[in-house]
Structures are given as C-alpha cells and as structure tokens.
C-alpha cells in the first residue's frame, strides 16, 4: 500500500517486535494503576518505546542517518534537561507543550507523506493518491495542526504569557464553523483532484494553515479554570492524529500507541468535565464568563466569623481528626510544604490528618496529588472525593485551603446555582470548618459560597502559605 510495505521483506519480524512494544505500553499503563508499581510500569513502557524505535531504525529504507542522529541527540538533550528542570507546579504547561510537540510532529509527518505521494514515483503507478492513504493523511494533518496550535495557546495561558481570561471575537462560533467548512472543502477538493500535483500542494499547505488558525481560535476563548478539560481534550486529539498517521503509514505501533493516548485523553476529558459539572461542548463553545445570573454579586454583607492563626492552631491541636481540602490557591501560594509541616506537627500530637482531593483541585487531572507527593505527603493520605465524603461528618475539623467552588454546598442544594449538580467535597458536613482564604471574594465561577457563612465555619484570612506557616509556629508553642 505504501512504500514502507513494499520495501519491508522482514515485515513479519517488524510486526512482531511492534506487538512486543505496544504490549509493553499497555502493561506499563496497567502497572500505573497503583503508586507502588507505577514507576516500574513507566520503565517498561520506555523499554517498549526503545524496542519500537530500534525496530524501525533496523528497517530497510531508513536513511538520512545524519538527520536522524542529530534529531534524536538534540531531542534527547532537550527532553532530559526539561524533565529535570520543570517544577511540579508547571506540569500542566509541560503536558500542554508536549501535546503540542506531538501534534506538530504528526502534522509535519502527514505533510511529508503527502509530498512523497504527490512528488514521488508512487503517483506514476497508481495514478492518484489512494483514498485509504489520503483520508488518514489529511485527518492526521488537520488534527495534528489544531492540536499543535491549540496546545501552544494553552501553554501560553498557563505560563501566563498571555492573559488566561477567555478571549474571543464576536461571532467566534461562526468563524470557527466557517474555518471547519473550508477544511472540509479542501479535503473534498484534494479527494477529487488527487492527481493534480501542481495544485494539490498549495491546497494542502492552505489546509495546514487554516487548521492552525482554527486551533488557536478554539482555545483562545477558554478560561483558566477550564484548563483541565482543555489539556485532556488536546491530549485525546494528538492521540487520534497519531493513530490516523499510523493508518496512512501502515505502522501498527503508531496506530496502537496513538489510540492508547486517545483513549486516555478521552477518559480524562470526560472525568474532568463531570467533575466541573460542564459538558465538553459548553467548555469549547462558551467561556465561563457567560453571565452568571448576578447571583454572586456581593450586594449584602452576610455575617461570617473569622479567627487568627493562634485560635486556628488551638482548634486543630485539640481535634482527633483533621481533613485538609487543598485547592489551586494552595498550589499558587506554593503552600504544599508548609501544609505538610502542619500535618506533621498535628500528627505528633496524635491527630489523624488526611487530605480530600477534588478531581479538579489543580490545573490538570491529578495535579494536586503530585504537588502533595512532592511535599512528601504519603499517597495513602490522599483520599478521593467519593471516598472521603462519607467520613466527613465524623471529622472534627475540615481545613479548606485555597479551595472554593469545590466545597460550595449550593452545588447540592440550590437548583438555580450555575454549579448545581457538580460533585463537591462536603466540607460543611464536618464538625468544624476552617477556611483559609485571602478574602471573602467569590471563586472563579463568581458564586457566593454558603460554606463561608455557616456558623460552624471560621474564616482565616491571608496568604495560604503565610497563615499555614503561622499555624505551624503556633502549634510549636502549644
């Protein structure tokens, strides 16, 4: 079908080694279901990758060794350096960037493959690019290009190179729809006129550029809080584009590898969307900025209680059980180490300390767990939402640090609330609740949080890291 198949006498051996490679990917991911085996799983997946790369390099028809060696050596250096330097708070950016690199690579490979068909001798004996090469190639190119540019925008937003607020043009949906139509039209044109070597190249490049604009336009209007969904979705896209490229190139390792990434991205996208009570289309086609019924207007000042670090320390020290609810505010304030110290201090006094992690507590799926693991919090203490909610009524003190919407009881009680139906950590169910927060201002969704006004709740105002460190000091004095 493609030249690769033709110049591949040892095809069976290659195919078998590819099976070994992607089996190791799957087994590696399977070991990733538990923290104690996950690291070995990652190593096995890496071994699978080494086998896949070595197998490919041993094939006939692989040439231009100078380019291959230069690319692999420089790429390895950059990758190794970046992986040592990146901070754990920056993981969302890094994953976004890697999504982008993967998508970009796919778009380029699709382009090269297309050029090969149109310019090369293949065309002379087939007369045209066969549809089973053309369709996956175009799909890989379009989705790869969208992922590349979309991921770059997501990266820029997360890295705060551009404002993370939703930014859109009026009539954005119409523009995006029109761009999509142009891409379809381009695809149909190339499908019909697939033997016109002189015109098909410019059309192909045009589609590459239109997809680039579309990728940028789709992610630009999405706000910072929706990033967990967007990153997961772009992850799914890059996976699909790789699978499409695998079909175009007749490469089973690419098909399976790409599909695995696509599955993972799809699962995470759906989980994140559920955890935020949003549908995927609503994330893509509307910013959170769409008028939130003025519900969050800070019109009347409702009474609330507040206390200082000293009182907070006393309350914590005399509790039997404490559950910490970390939110993104904790990560922003880099307070995870201070929180660990506080937990250590409390545990010395025989207090049982656990952490309740909401699925969207960070800027990407599972982000908060990594930040706490970095601060040496043992993973057994990290409890998932559904797991810990039933235990909260028996908890003495629940400490909410830099989290807001994910604890808002309105999600369960107030049908008119925009977050109604969103799963929450039921901090209000605990005997007492401490909320560490800068001010009474509503959260990202602009919704007032009834938890703050609950008689069992005390607010402790200030920067998360500063207050927690103060509480640690006060605990030391007790």
């Amino acid at each position: 079908m493609t030249p690769l198949a033709a110049l591949d006498p040892a095809g069976a051996a290659v195919g078998l080694l590819y099976i070994l490679a992607f089996s190791l990917f799957i087994y590696g991911i399977k070991l990733g279901t538990h923290p104690t085996t996950a690291r070995r799983g990652n190593g096995l997946a890496a071994l699978g990758m080494a086998i896949a790369v070595a197998t490919t390099l041993a094939q006939k028809g692989i040439g231009n060794w100078g380019i291959i060696i230069a690319g692999i050596v420089i790429g390895s250096l950059i990758g190794a350096f970046a992986s040592k330097r990146v901070k754990m708070t920056e993981m969302p950016q890094m994953v976004a960037l890697y999504n982008g690199l993967g998508g970009g690579a796919i778009a380029l490979i699709a382009w090269a493959e297309y050029r090969h068909w149109v310019n090369g001798e293949n065309l002379s004996f087939t007369g045209s690019v066969p549809p089973d090469v053309l369709i996956p190639t175009l799909l890989a190119m379009v989705v790869g290009s969208i992922s590349f540019w979309g991921s770059n925008v997501a990266f820029a937003k997360l890295q705060e190179l551009i404002p993370s607020q939703p930014m859109g043009l009026p009539g954005q949906k119409l523009i995006n729809g029109a761009l999509l139509l142009v891409l379809l039209a381009g695809g149909v044109y190339l499908g019909i006129n697939n033997d016109l070597a002189d015109l098909s190249q410019p059309v192909f490049i045009g589609m590459l550029l239109v997809a680039a604009v579309l990728g940028t336009m789709v992610v630009m209007p999405i706000g910072g809080a929706d990033m967990p969904v967007v990153i997961s979705l772009l992850n799914a896209f890059t996976g699909l584009s790789a699978a499409a490229a695998g079909i175009a190139l007749d490469n089973t390792a690419l098909i399976v590898g790409g599909t695995l990434v696509g599955s993972s991205g799809t699962i995470l996208t759906l989980e994140m969307a559920t955890a935020m009570n949003r549908s995927v289309p609503s994330v893509l086609f509307a910013g959170f900025g769409s008028p939130v019924a003025g519900a969050g207007g800070d019109q009347e000042q409702r009474p609330h209680q507040s206390m200082g670090a000293q009182d907070a320390a006393i309350q914590l020290a005399y509790a039997d059980s404490v559950v910490i609810v970390p939110g993104y505010g904790l990560a922003v304030a880099q307070a995870q180490h201070a929180v660990r110290e506080m937990a250590d201090e409390l545990e010395k006094r025989g207090v049982r300390v656990e952490y309740a992690i909401h699925p969207v507590a960070g800027r990407m799926p599972g982000h908060m767990n990594v930040l706490l693991a970095e601060a040496d919090v043992p993973y057994e203490k990290l409890r998932e939402m559904d797991d810990i909610n039933p235990e909260l009524p028996q908890t003495d003190v629940c400490v909410v640090i830099g989290a807001n919407d994910v604890t808002n009881p309105a999600a369960k009680t107030d049908e008119s609330s925009p977050i109604y139906g969103m799963p929450i950590i039921e901090a209000g169910e605990a005997q007492q609740c401490l909320v560490l927060k800068r001010s009474m201002s509503p959260g990202f969704a602009g919704i007032d949080n009834d938890l703050f006004y609950d008689p069992k709740t005390s607010m402790v105002f200030g920067d998360a890291k500063a207050i927690v460190s103060e509480i640690v000091q006060e605990l030391g004095k007790l």
């Binding site: 490919t56 028809g61 990758g79 992986s83 310019n119 990153i231 799926p365 599972g366 040496d376």
Partner: protein
C-alpha cells in the same frame, strides 16, 4: 495491510485502552498524562520513516523537526513521569538528603527501564 485490518486494530486498541486506563486512580492522573505524552512520542517512528525517503531540503527539514519533537516527547515524557512516580514511591524514606539524586537512569531515546528503585514498598 488493508484499511479494514488497520481499523480493526484501532478499535481493539481503543477498547483495551479504555479498559486499562479507566482503572488508573485519580491520584495518578498527572503521571498518566505525562506518560501518554511519552507514548505519543511513538510519532518518532513516522518521522524516521518519512525522513528515509526525503529527497529535498524541505523534506529533510520537515523530517528533522518531526524527529526532534518526537524524541523530546519520548525522553522528556518518560523521565518526568519517572521523577513524579519516584515521589509517590518514597513514602517511607526517613528524610534522605534533601537533594534527591537524579531520577532513574534513562539514557538517550528512553531506553533502560530505569532501575526501579521504587520497590521500597
């Protein structure tokens, strides 16, 4: 290989992927994502193939960039995943020297499953 066979492979891989990945706990979702980033680096194979029949400077540049991007994904993805998972595994180490020794031993192109020091259990 015909198209239908390839789509069959894709469909089966999707089912296996969904089955296995849906069992990964939320705690490990970030390492899962960076690991799938690395697996996505399989696009390197595509780069290696197309650069093999590059016959113009443009094709060579395209191939080079694709290989570069793919390799960054593979090496960076697996190494950073290893770094994260090492933190999940080190629960019982009694305050070692704060400067954690460089994670794993991955050399170029993501070889070496990194002597799994994580089995401290």
């Amino acid at each position: 290989m015909d198209l239908v066979t390839e789509i069959t492979i894709l469909a089966l891989a999707a089912f296996v992927g969904f089955e296995v990945i849906s069992k990964v706990p939320a705690t490990l979702h970030t390492p899962l994502m960076s690991q799938t980033n690395a697996i996505h680096g399989i696009v390197l194979l595509g780069g290696l193939i197309v650069v093999g029949y590059a016959d113009s400077t443009l094709d060579e540049v395209i191939g080079f960039v694709a290989i570069l991007f793919g390799t960054i994904n593979i090496v960076g993805g697996f190494m950073v995943t290893d770094r994260m998972l090492e933190m999940f595994g080190t629960k019982k180490k009694k305050k070692p020297p704060a400067t954690a020794e460089p994670a794993g031993a991955e050399a170029a192109a993501g070889e070496a499953p990194g002597t799994p020091a994580g089995d401290s259990k």
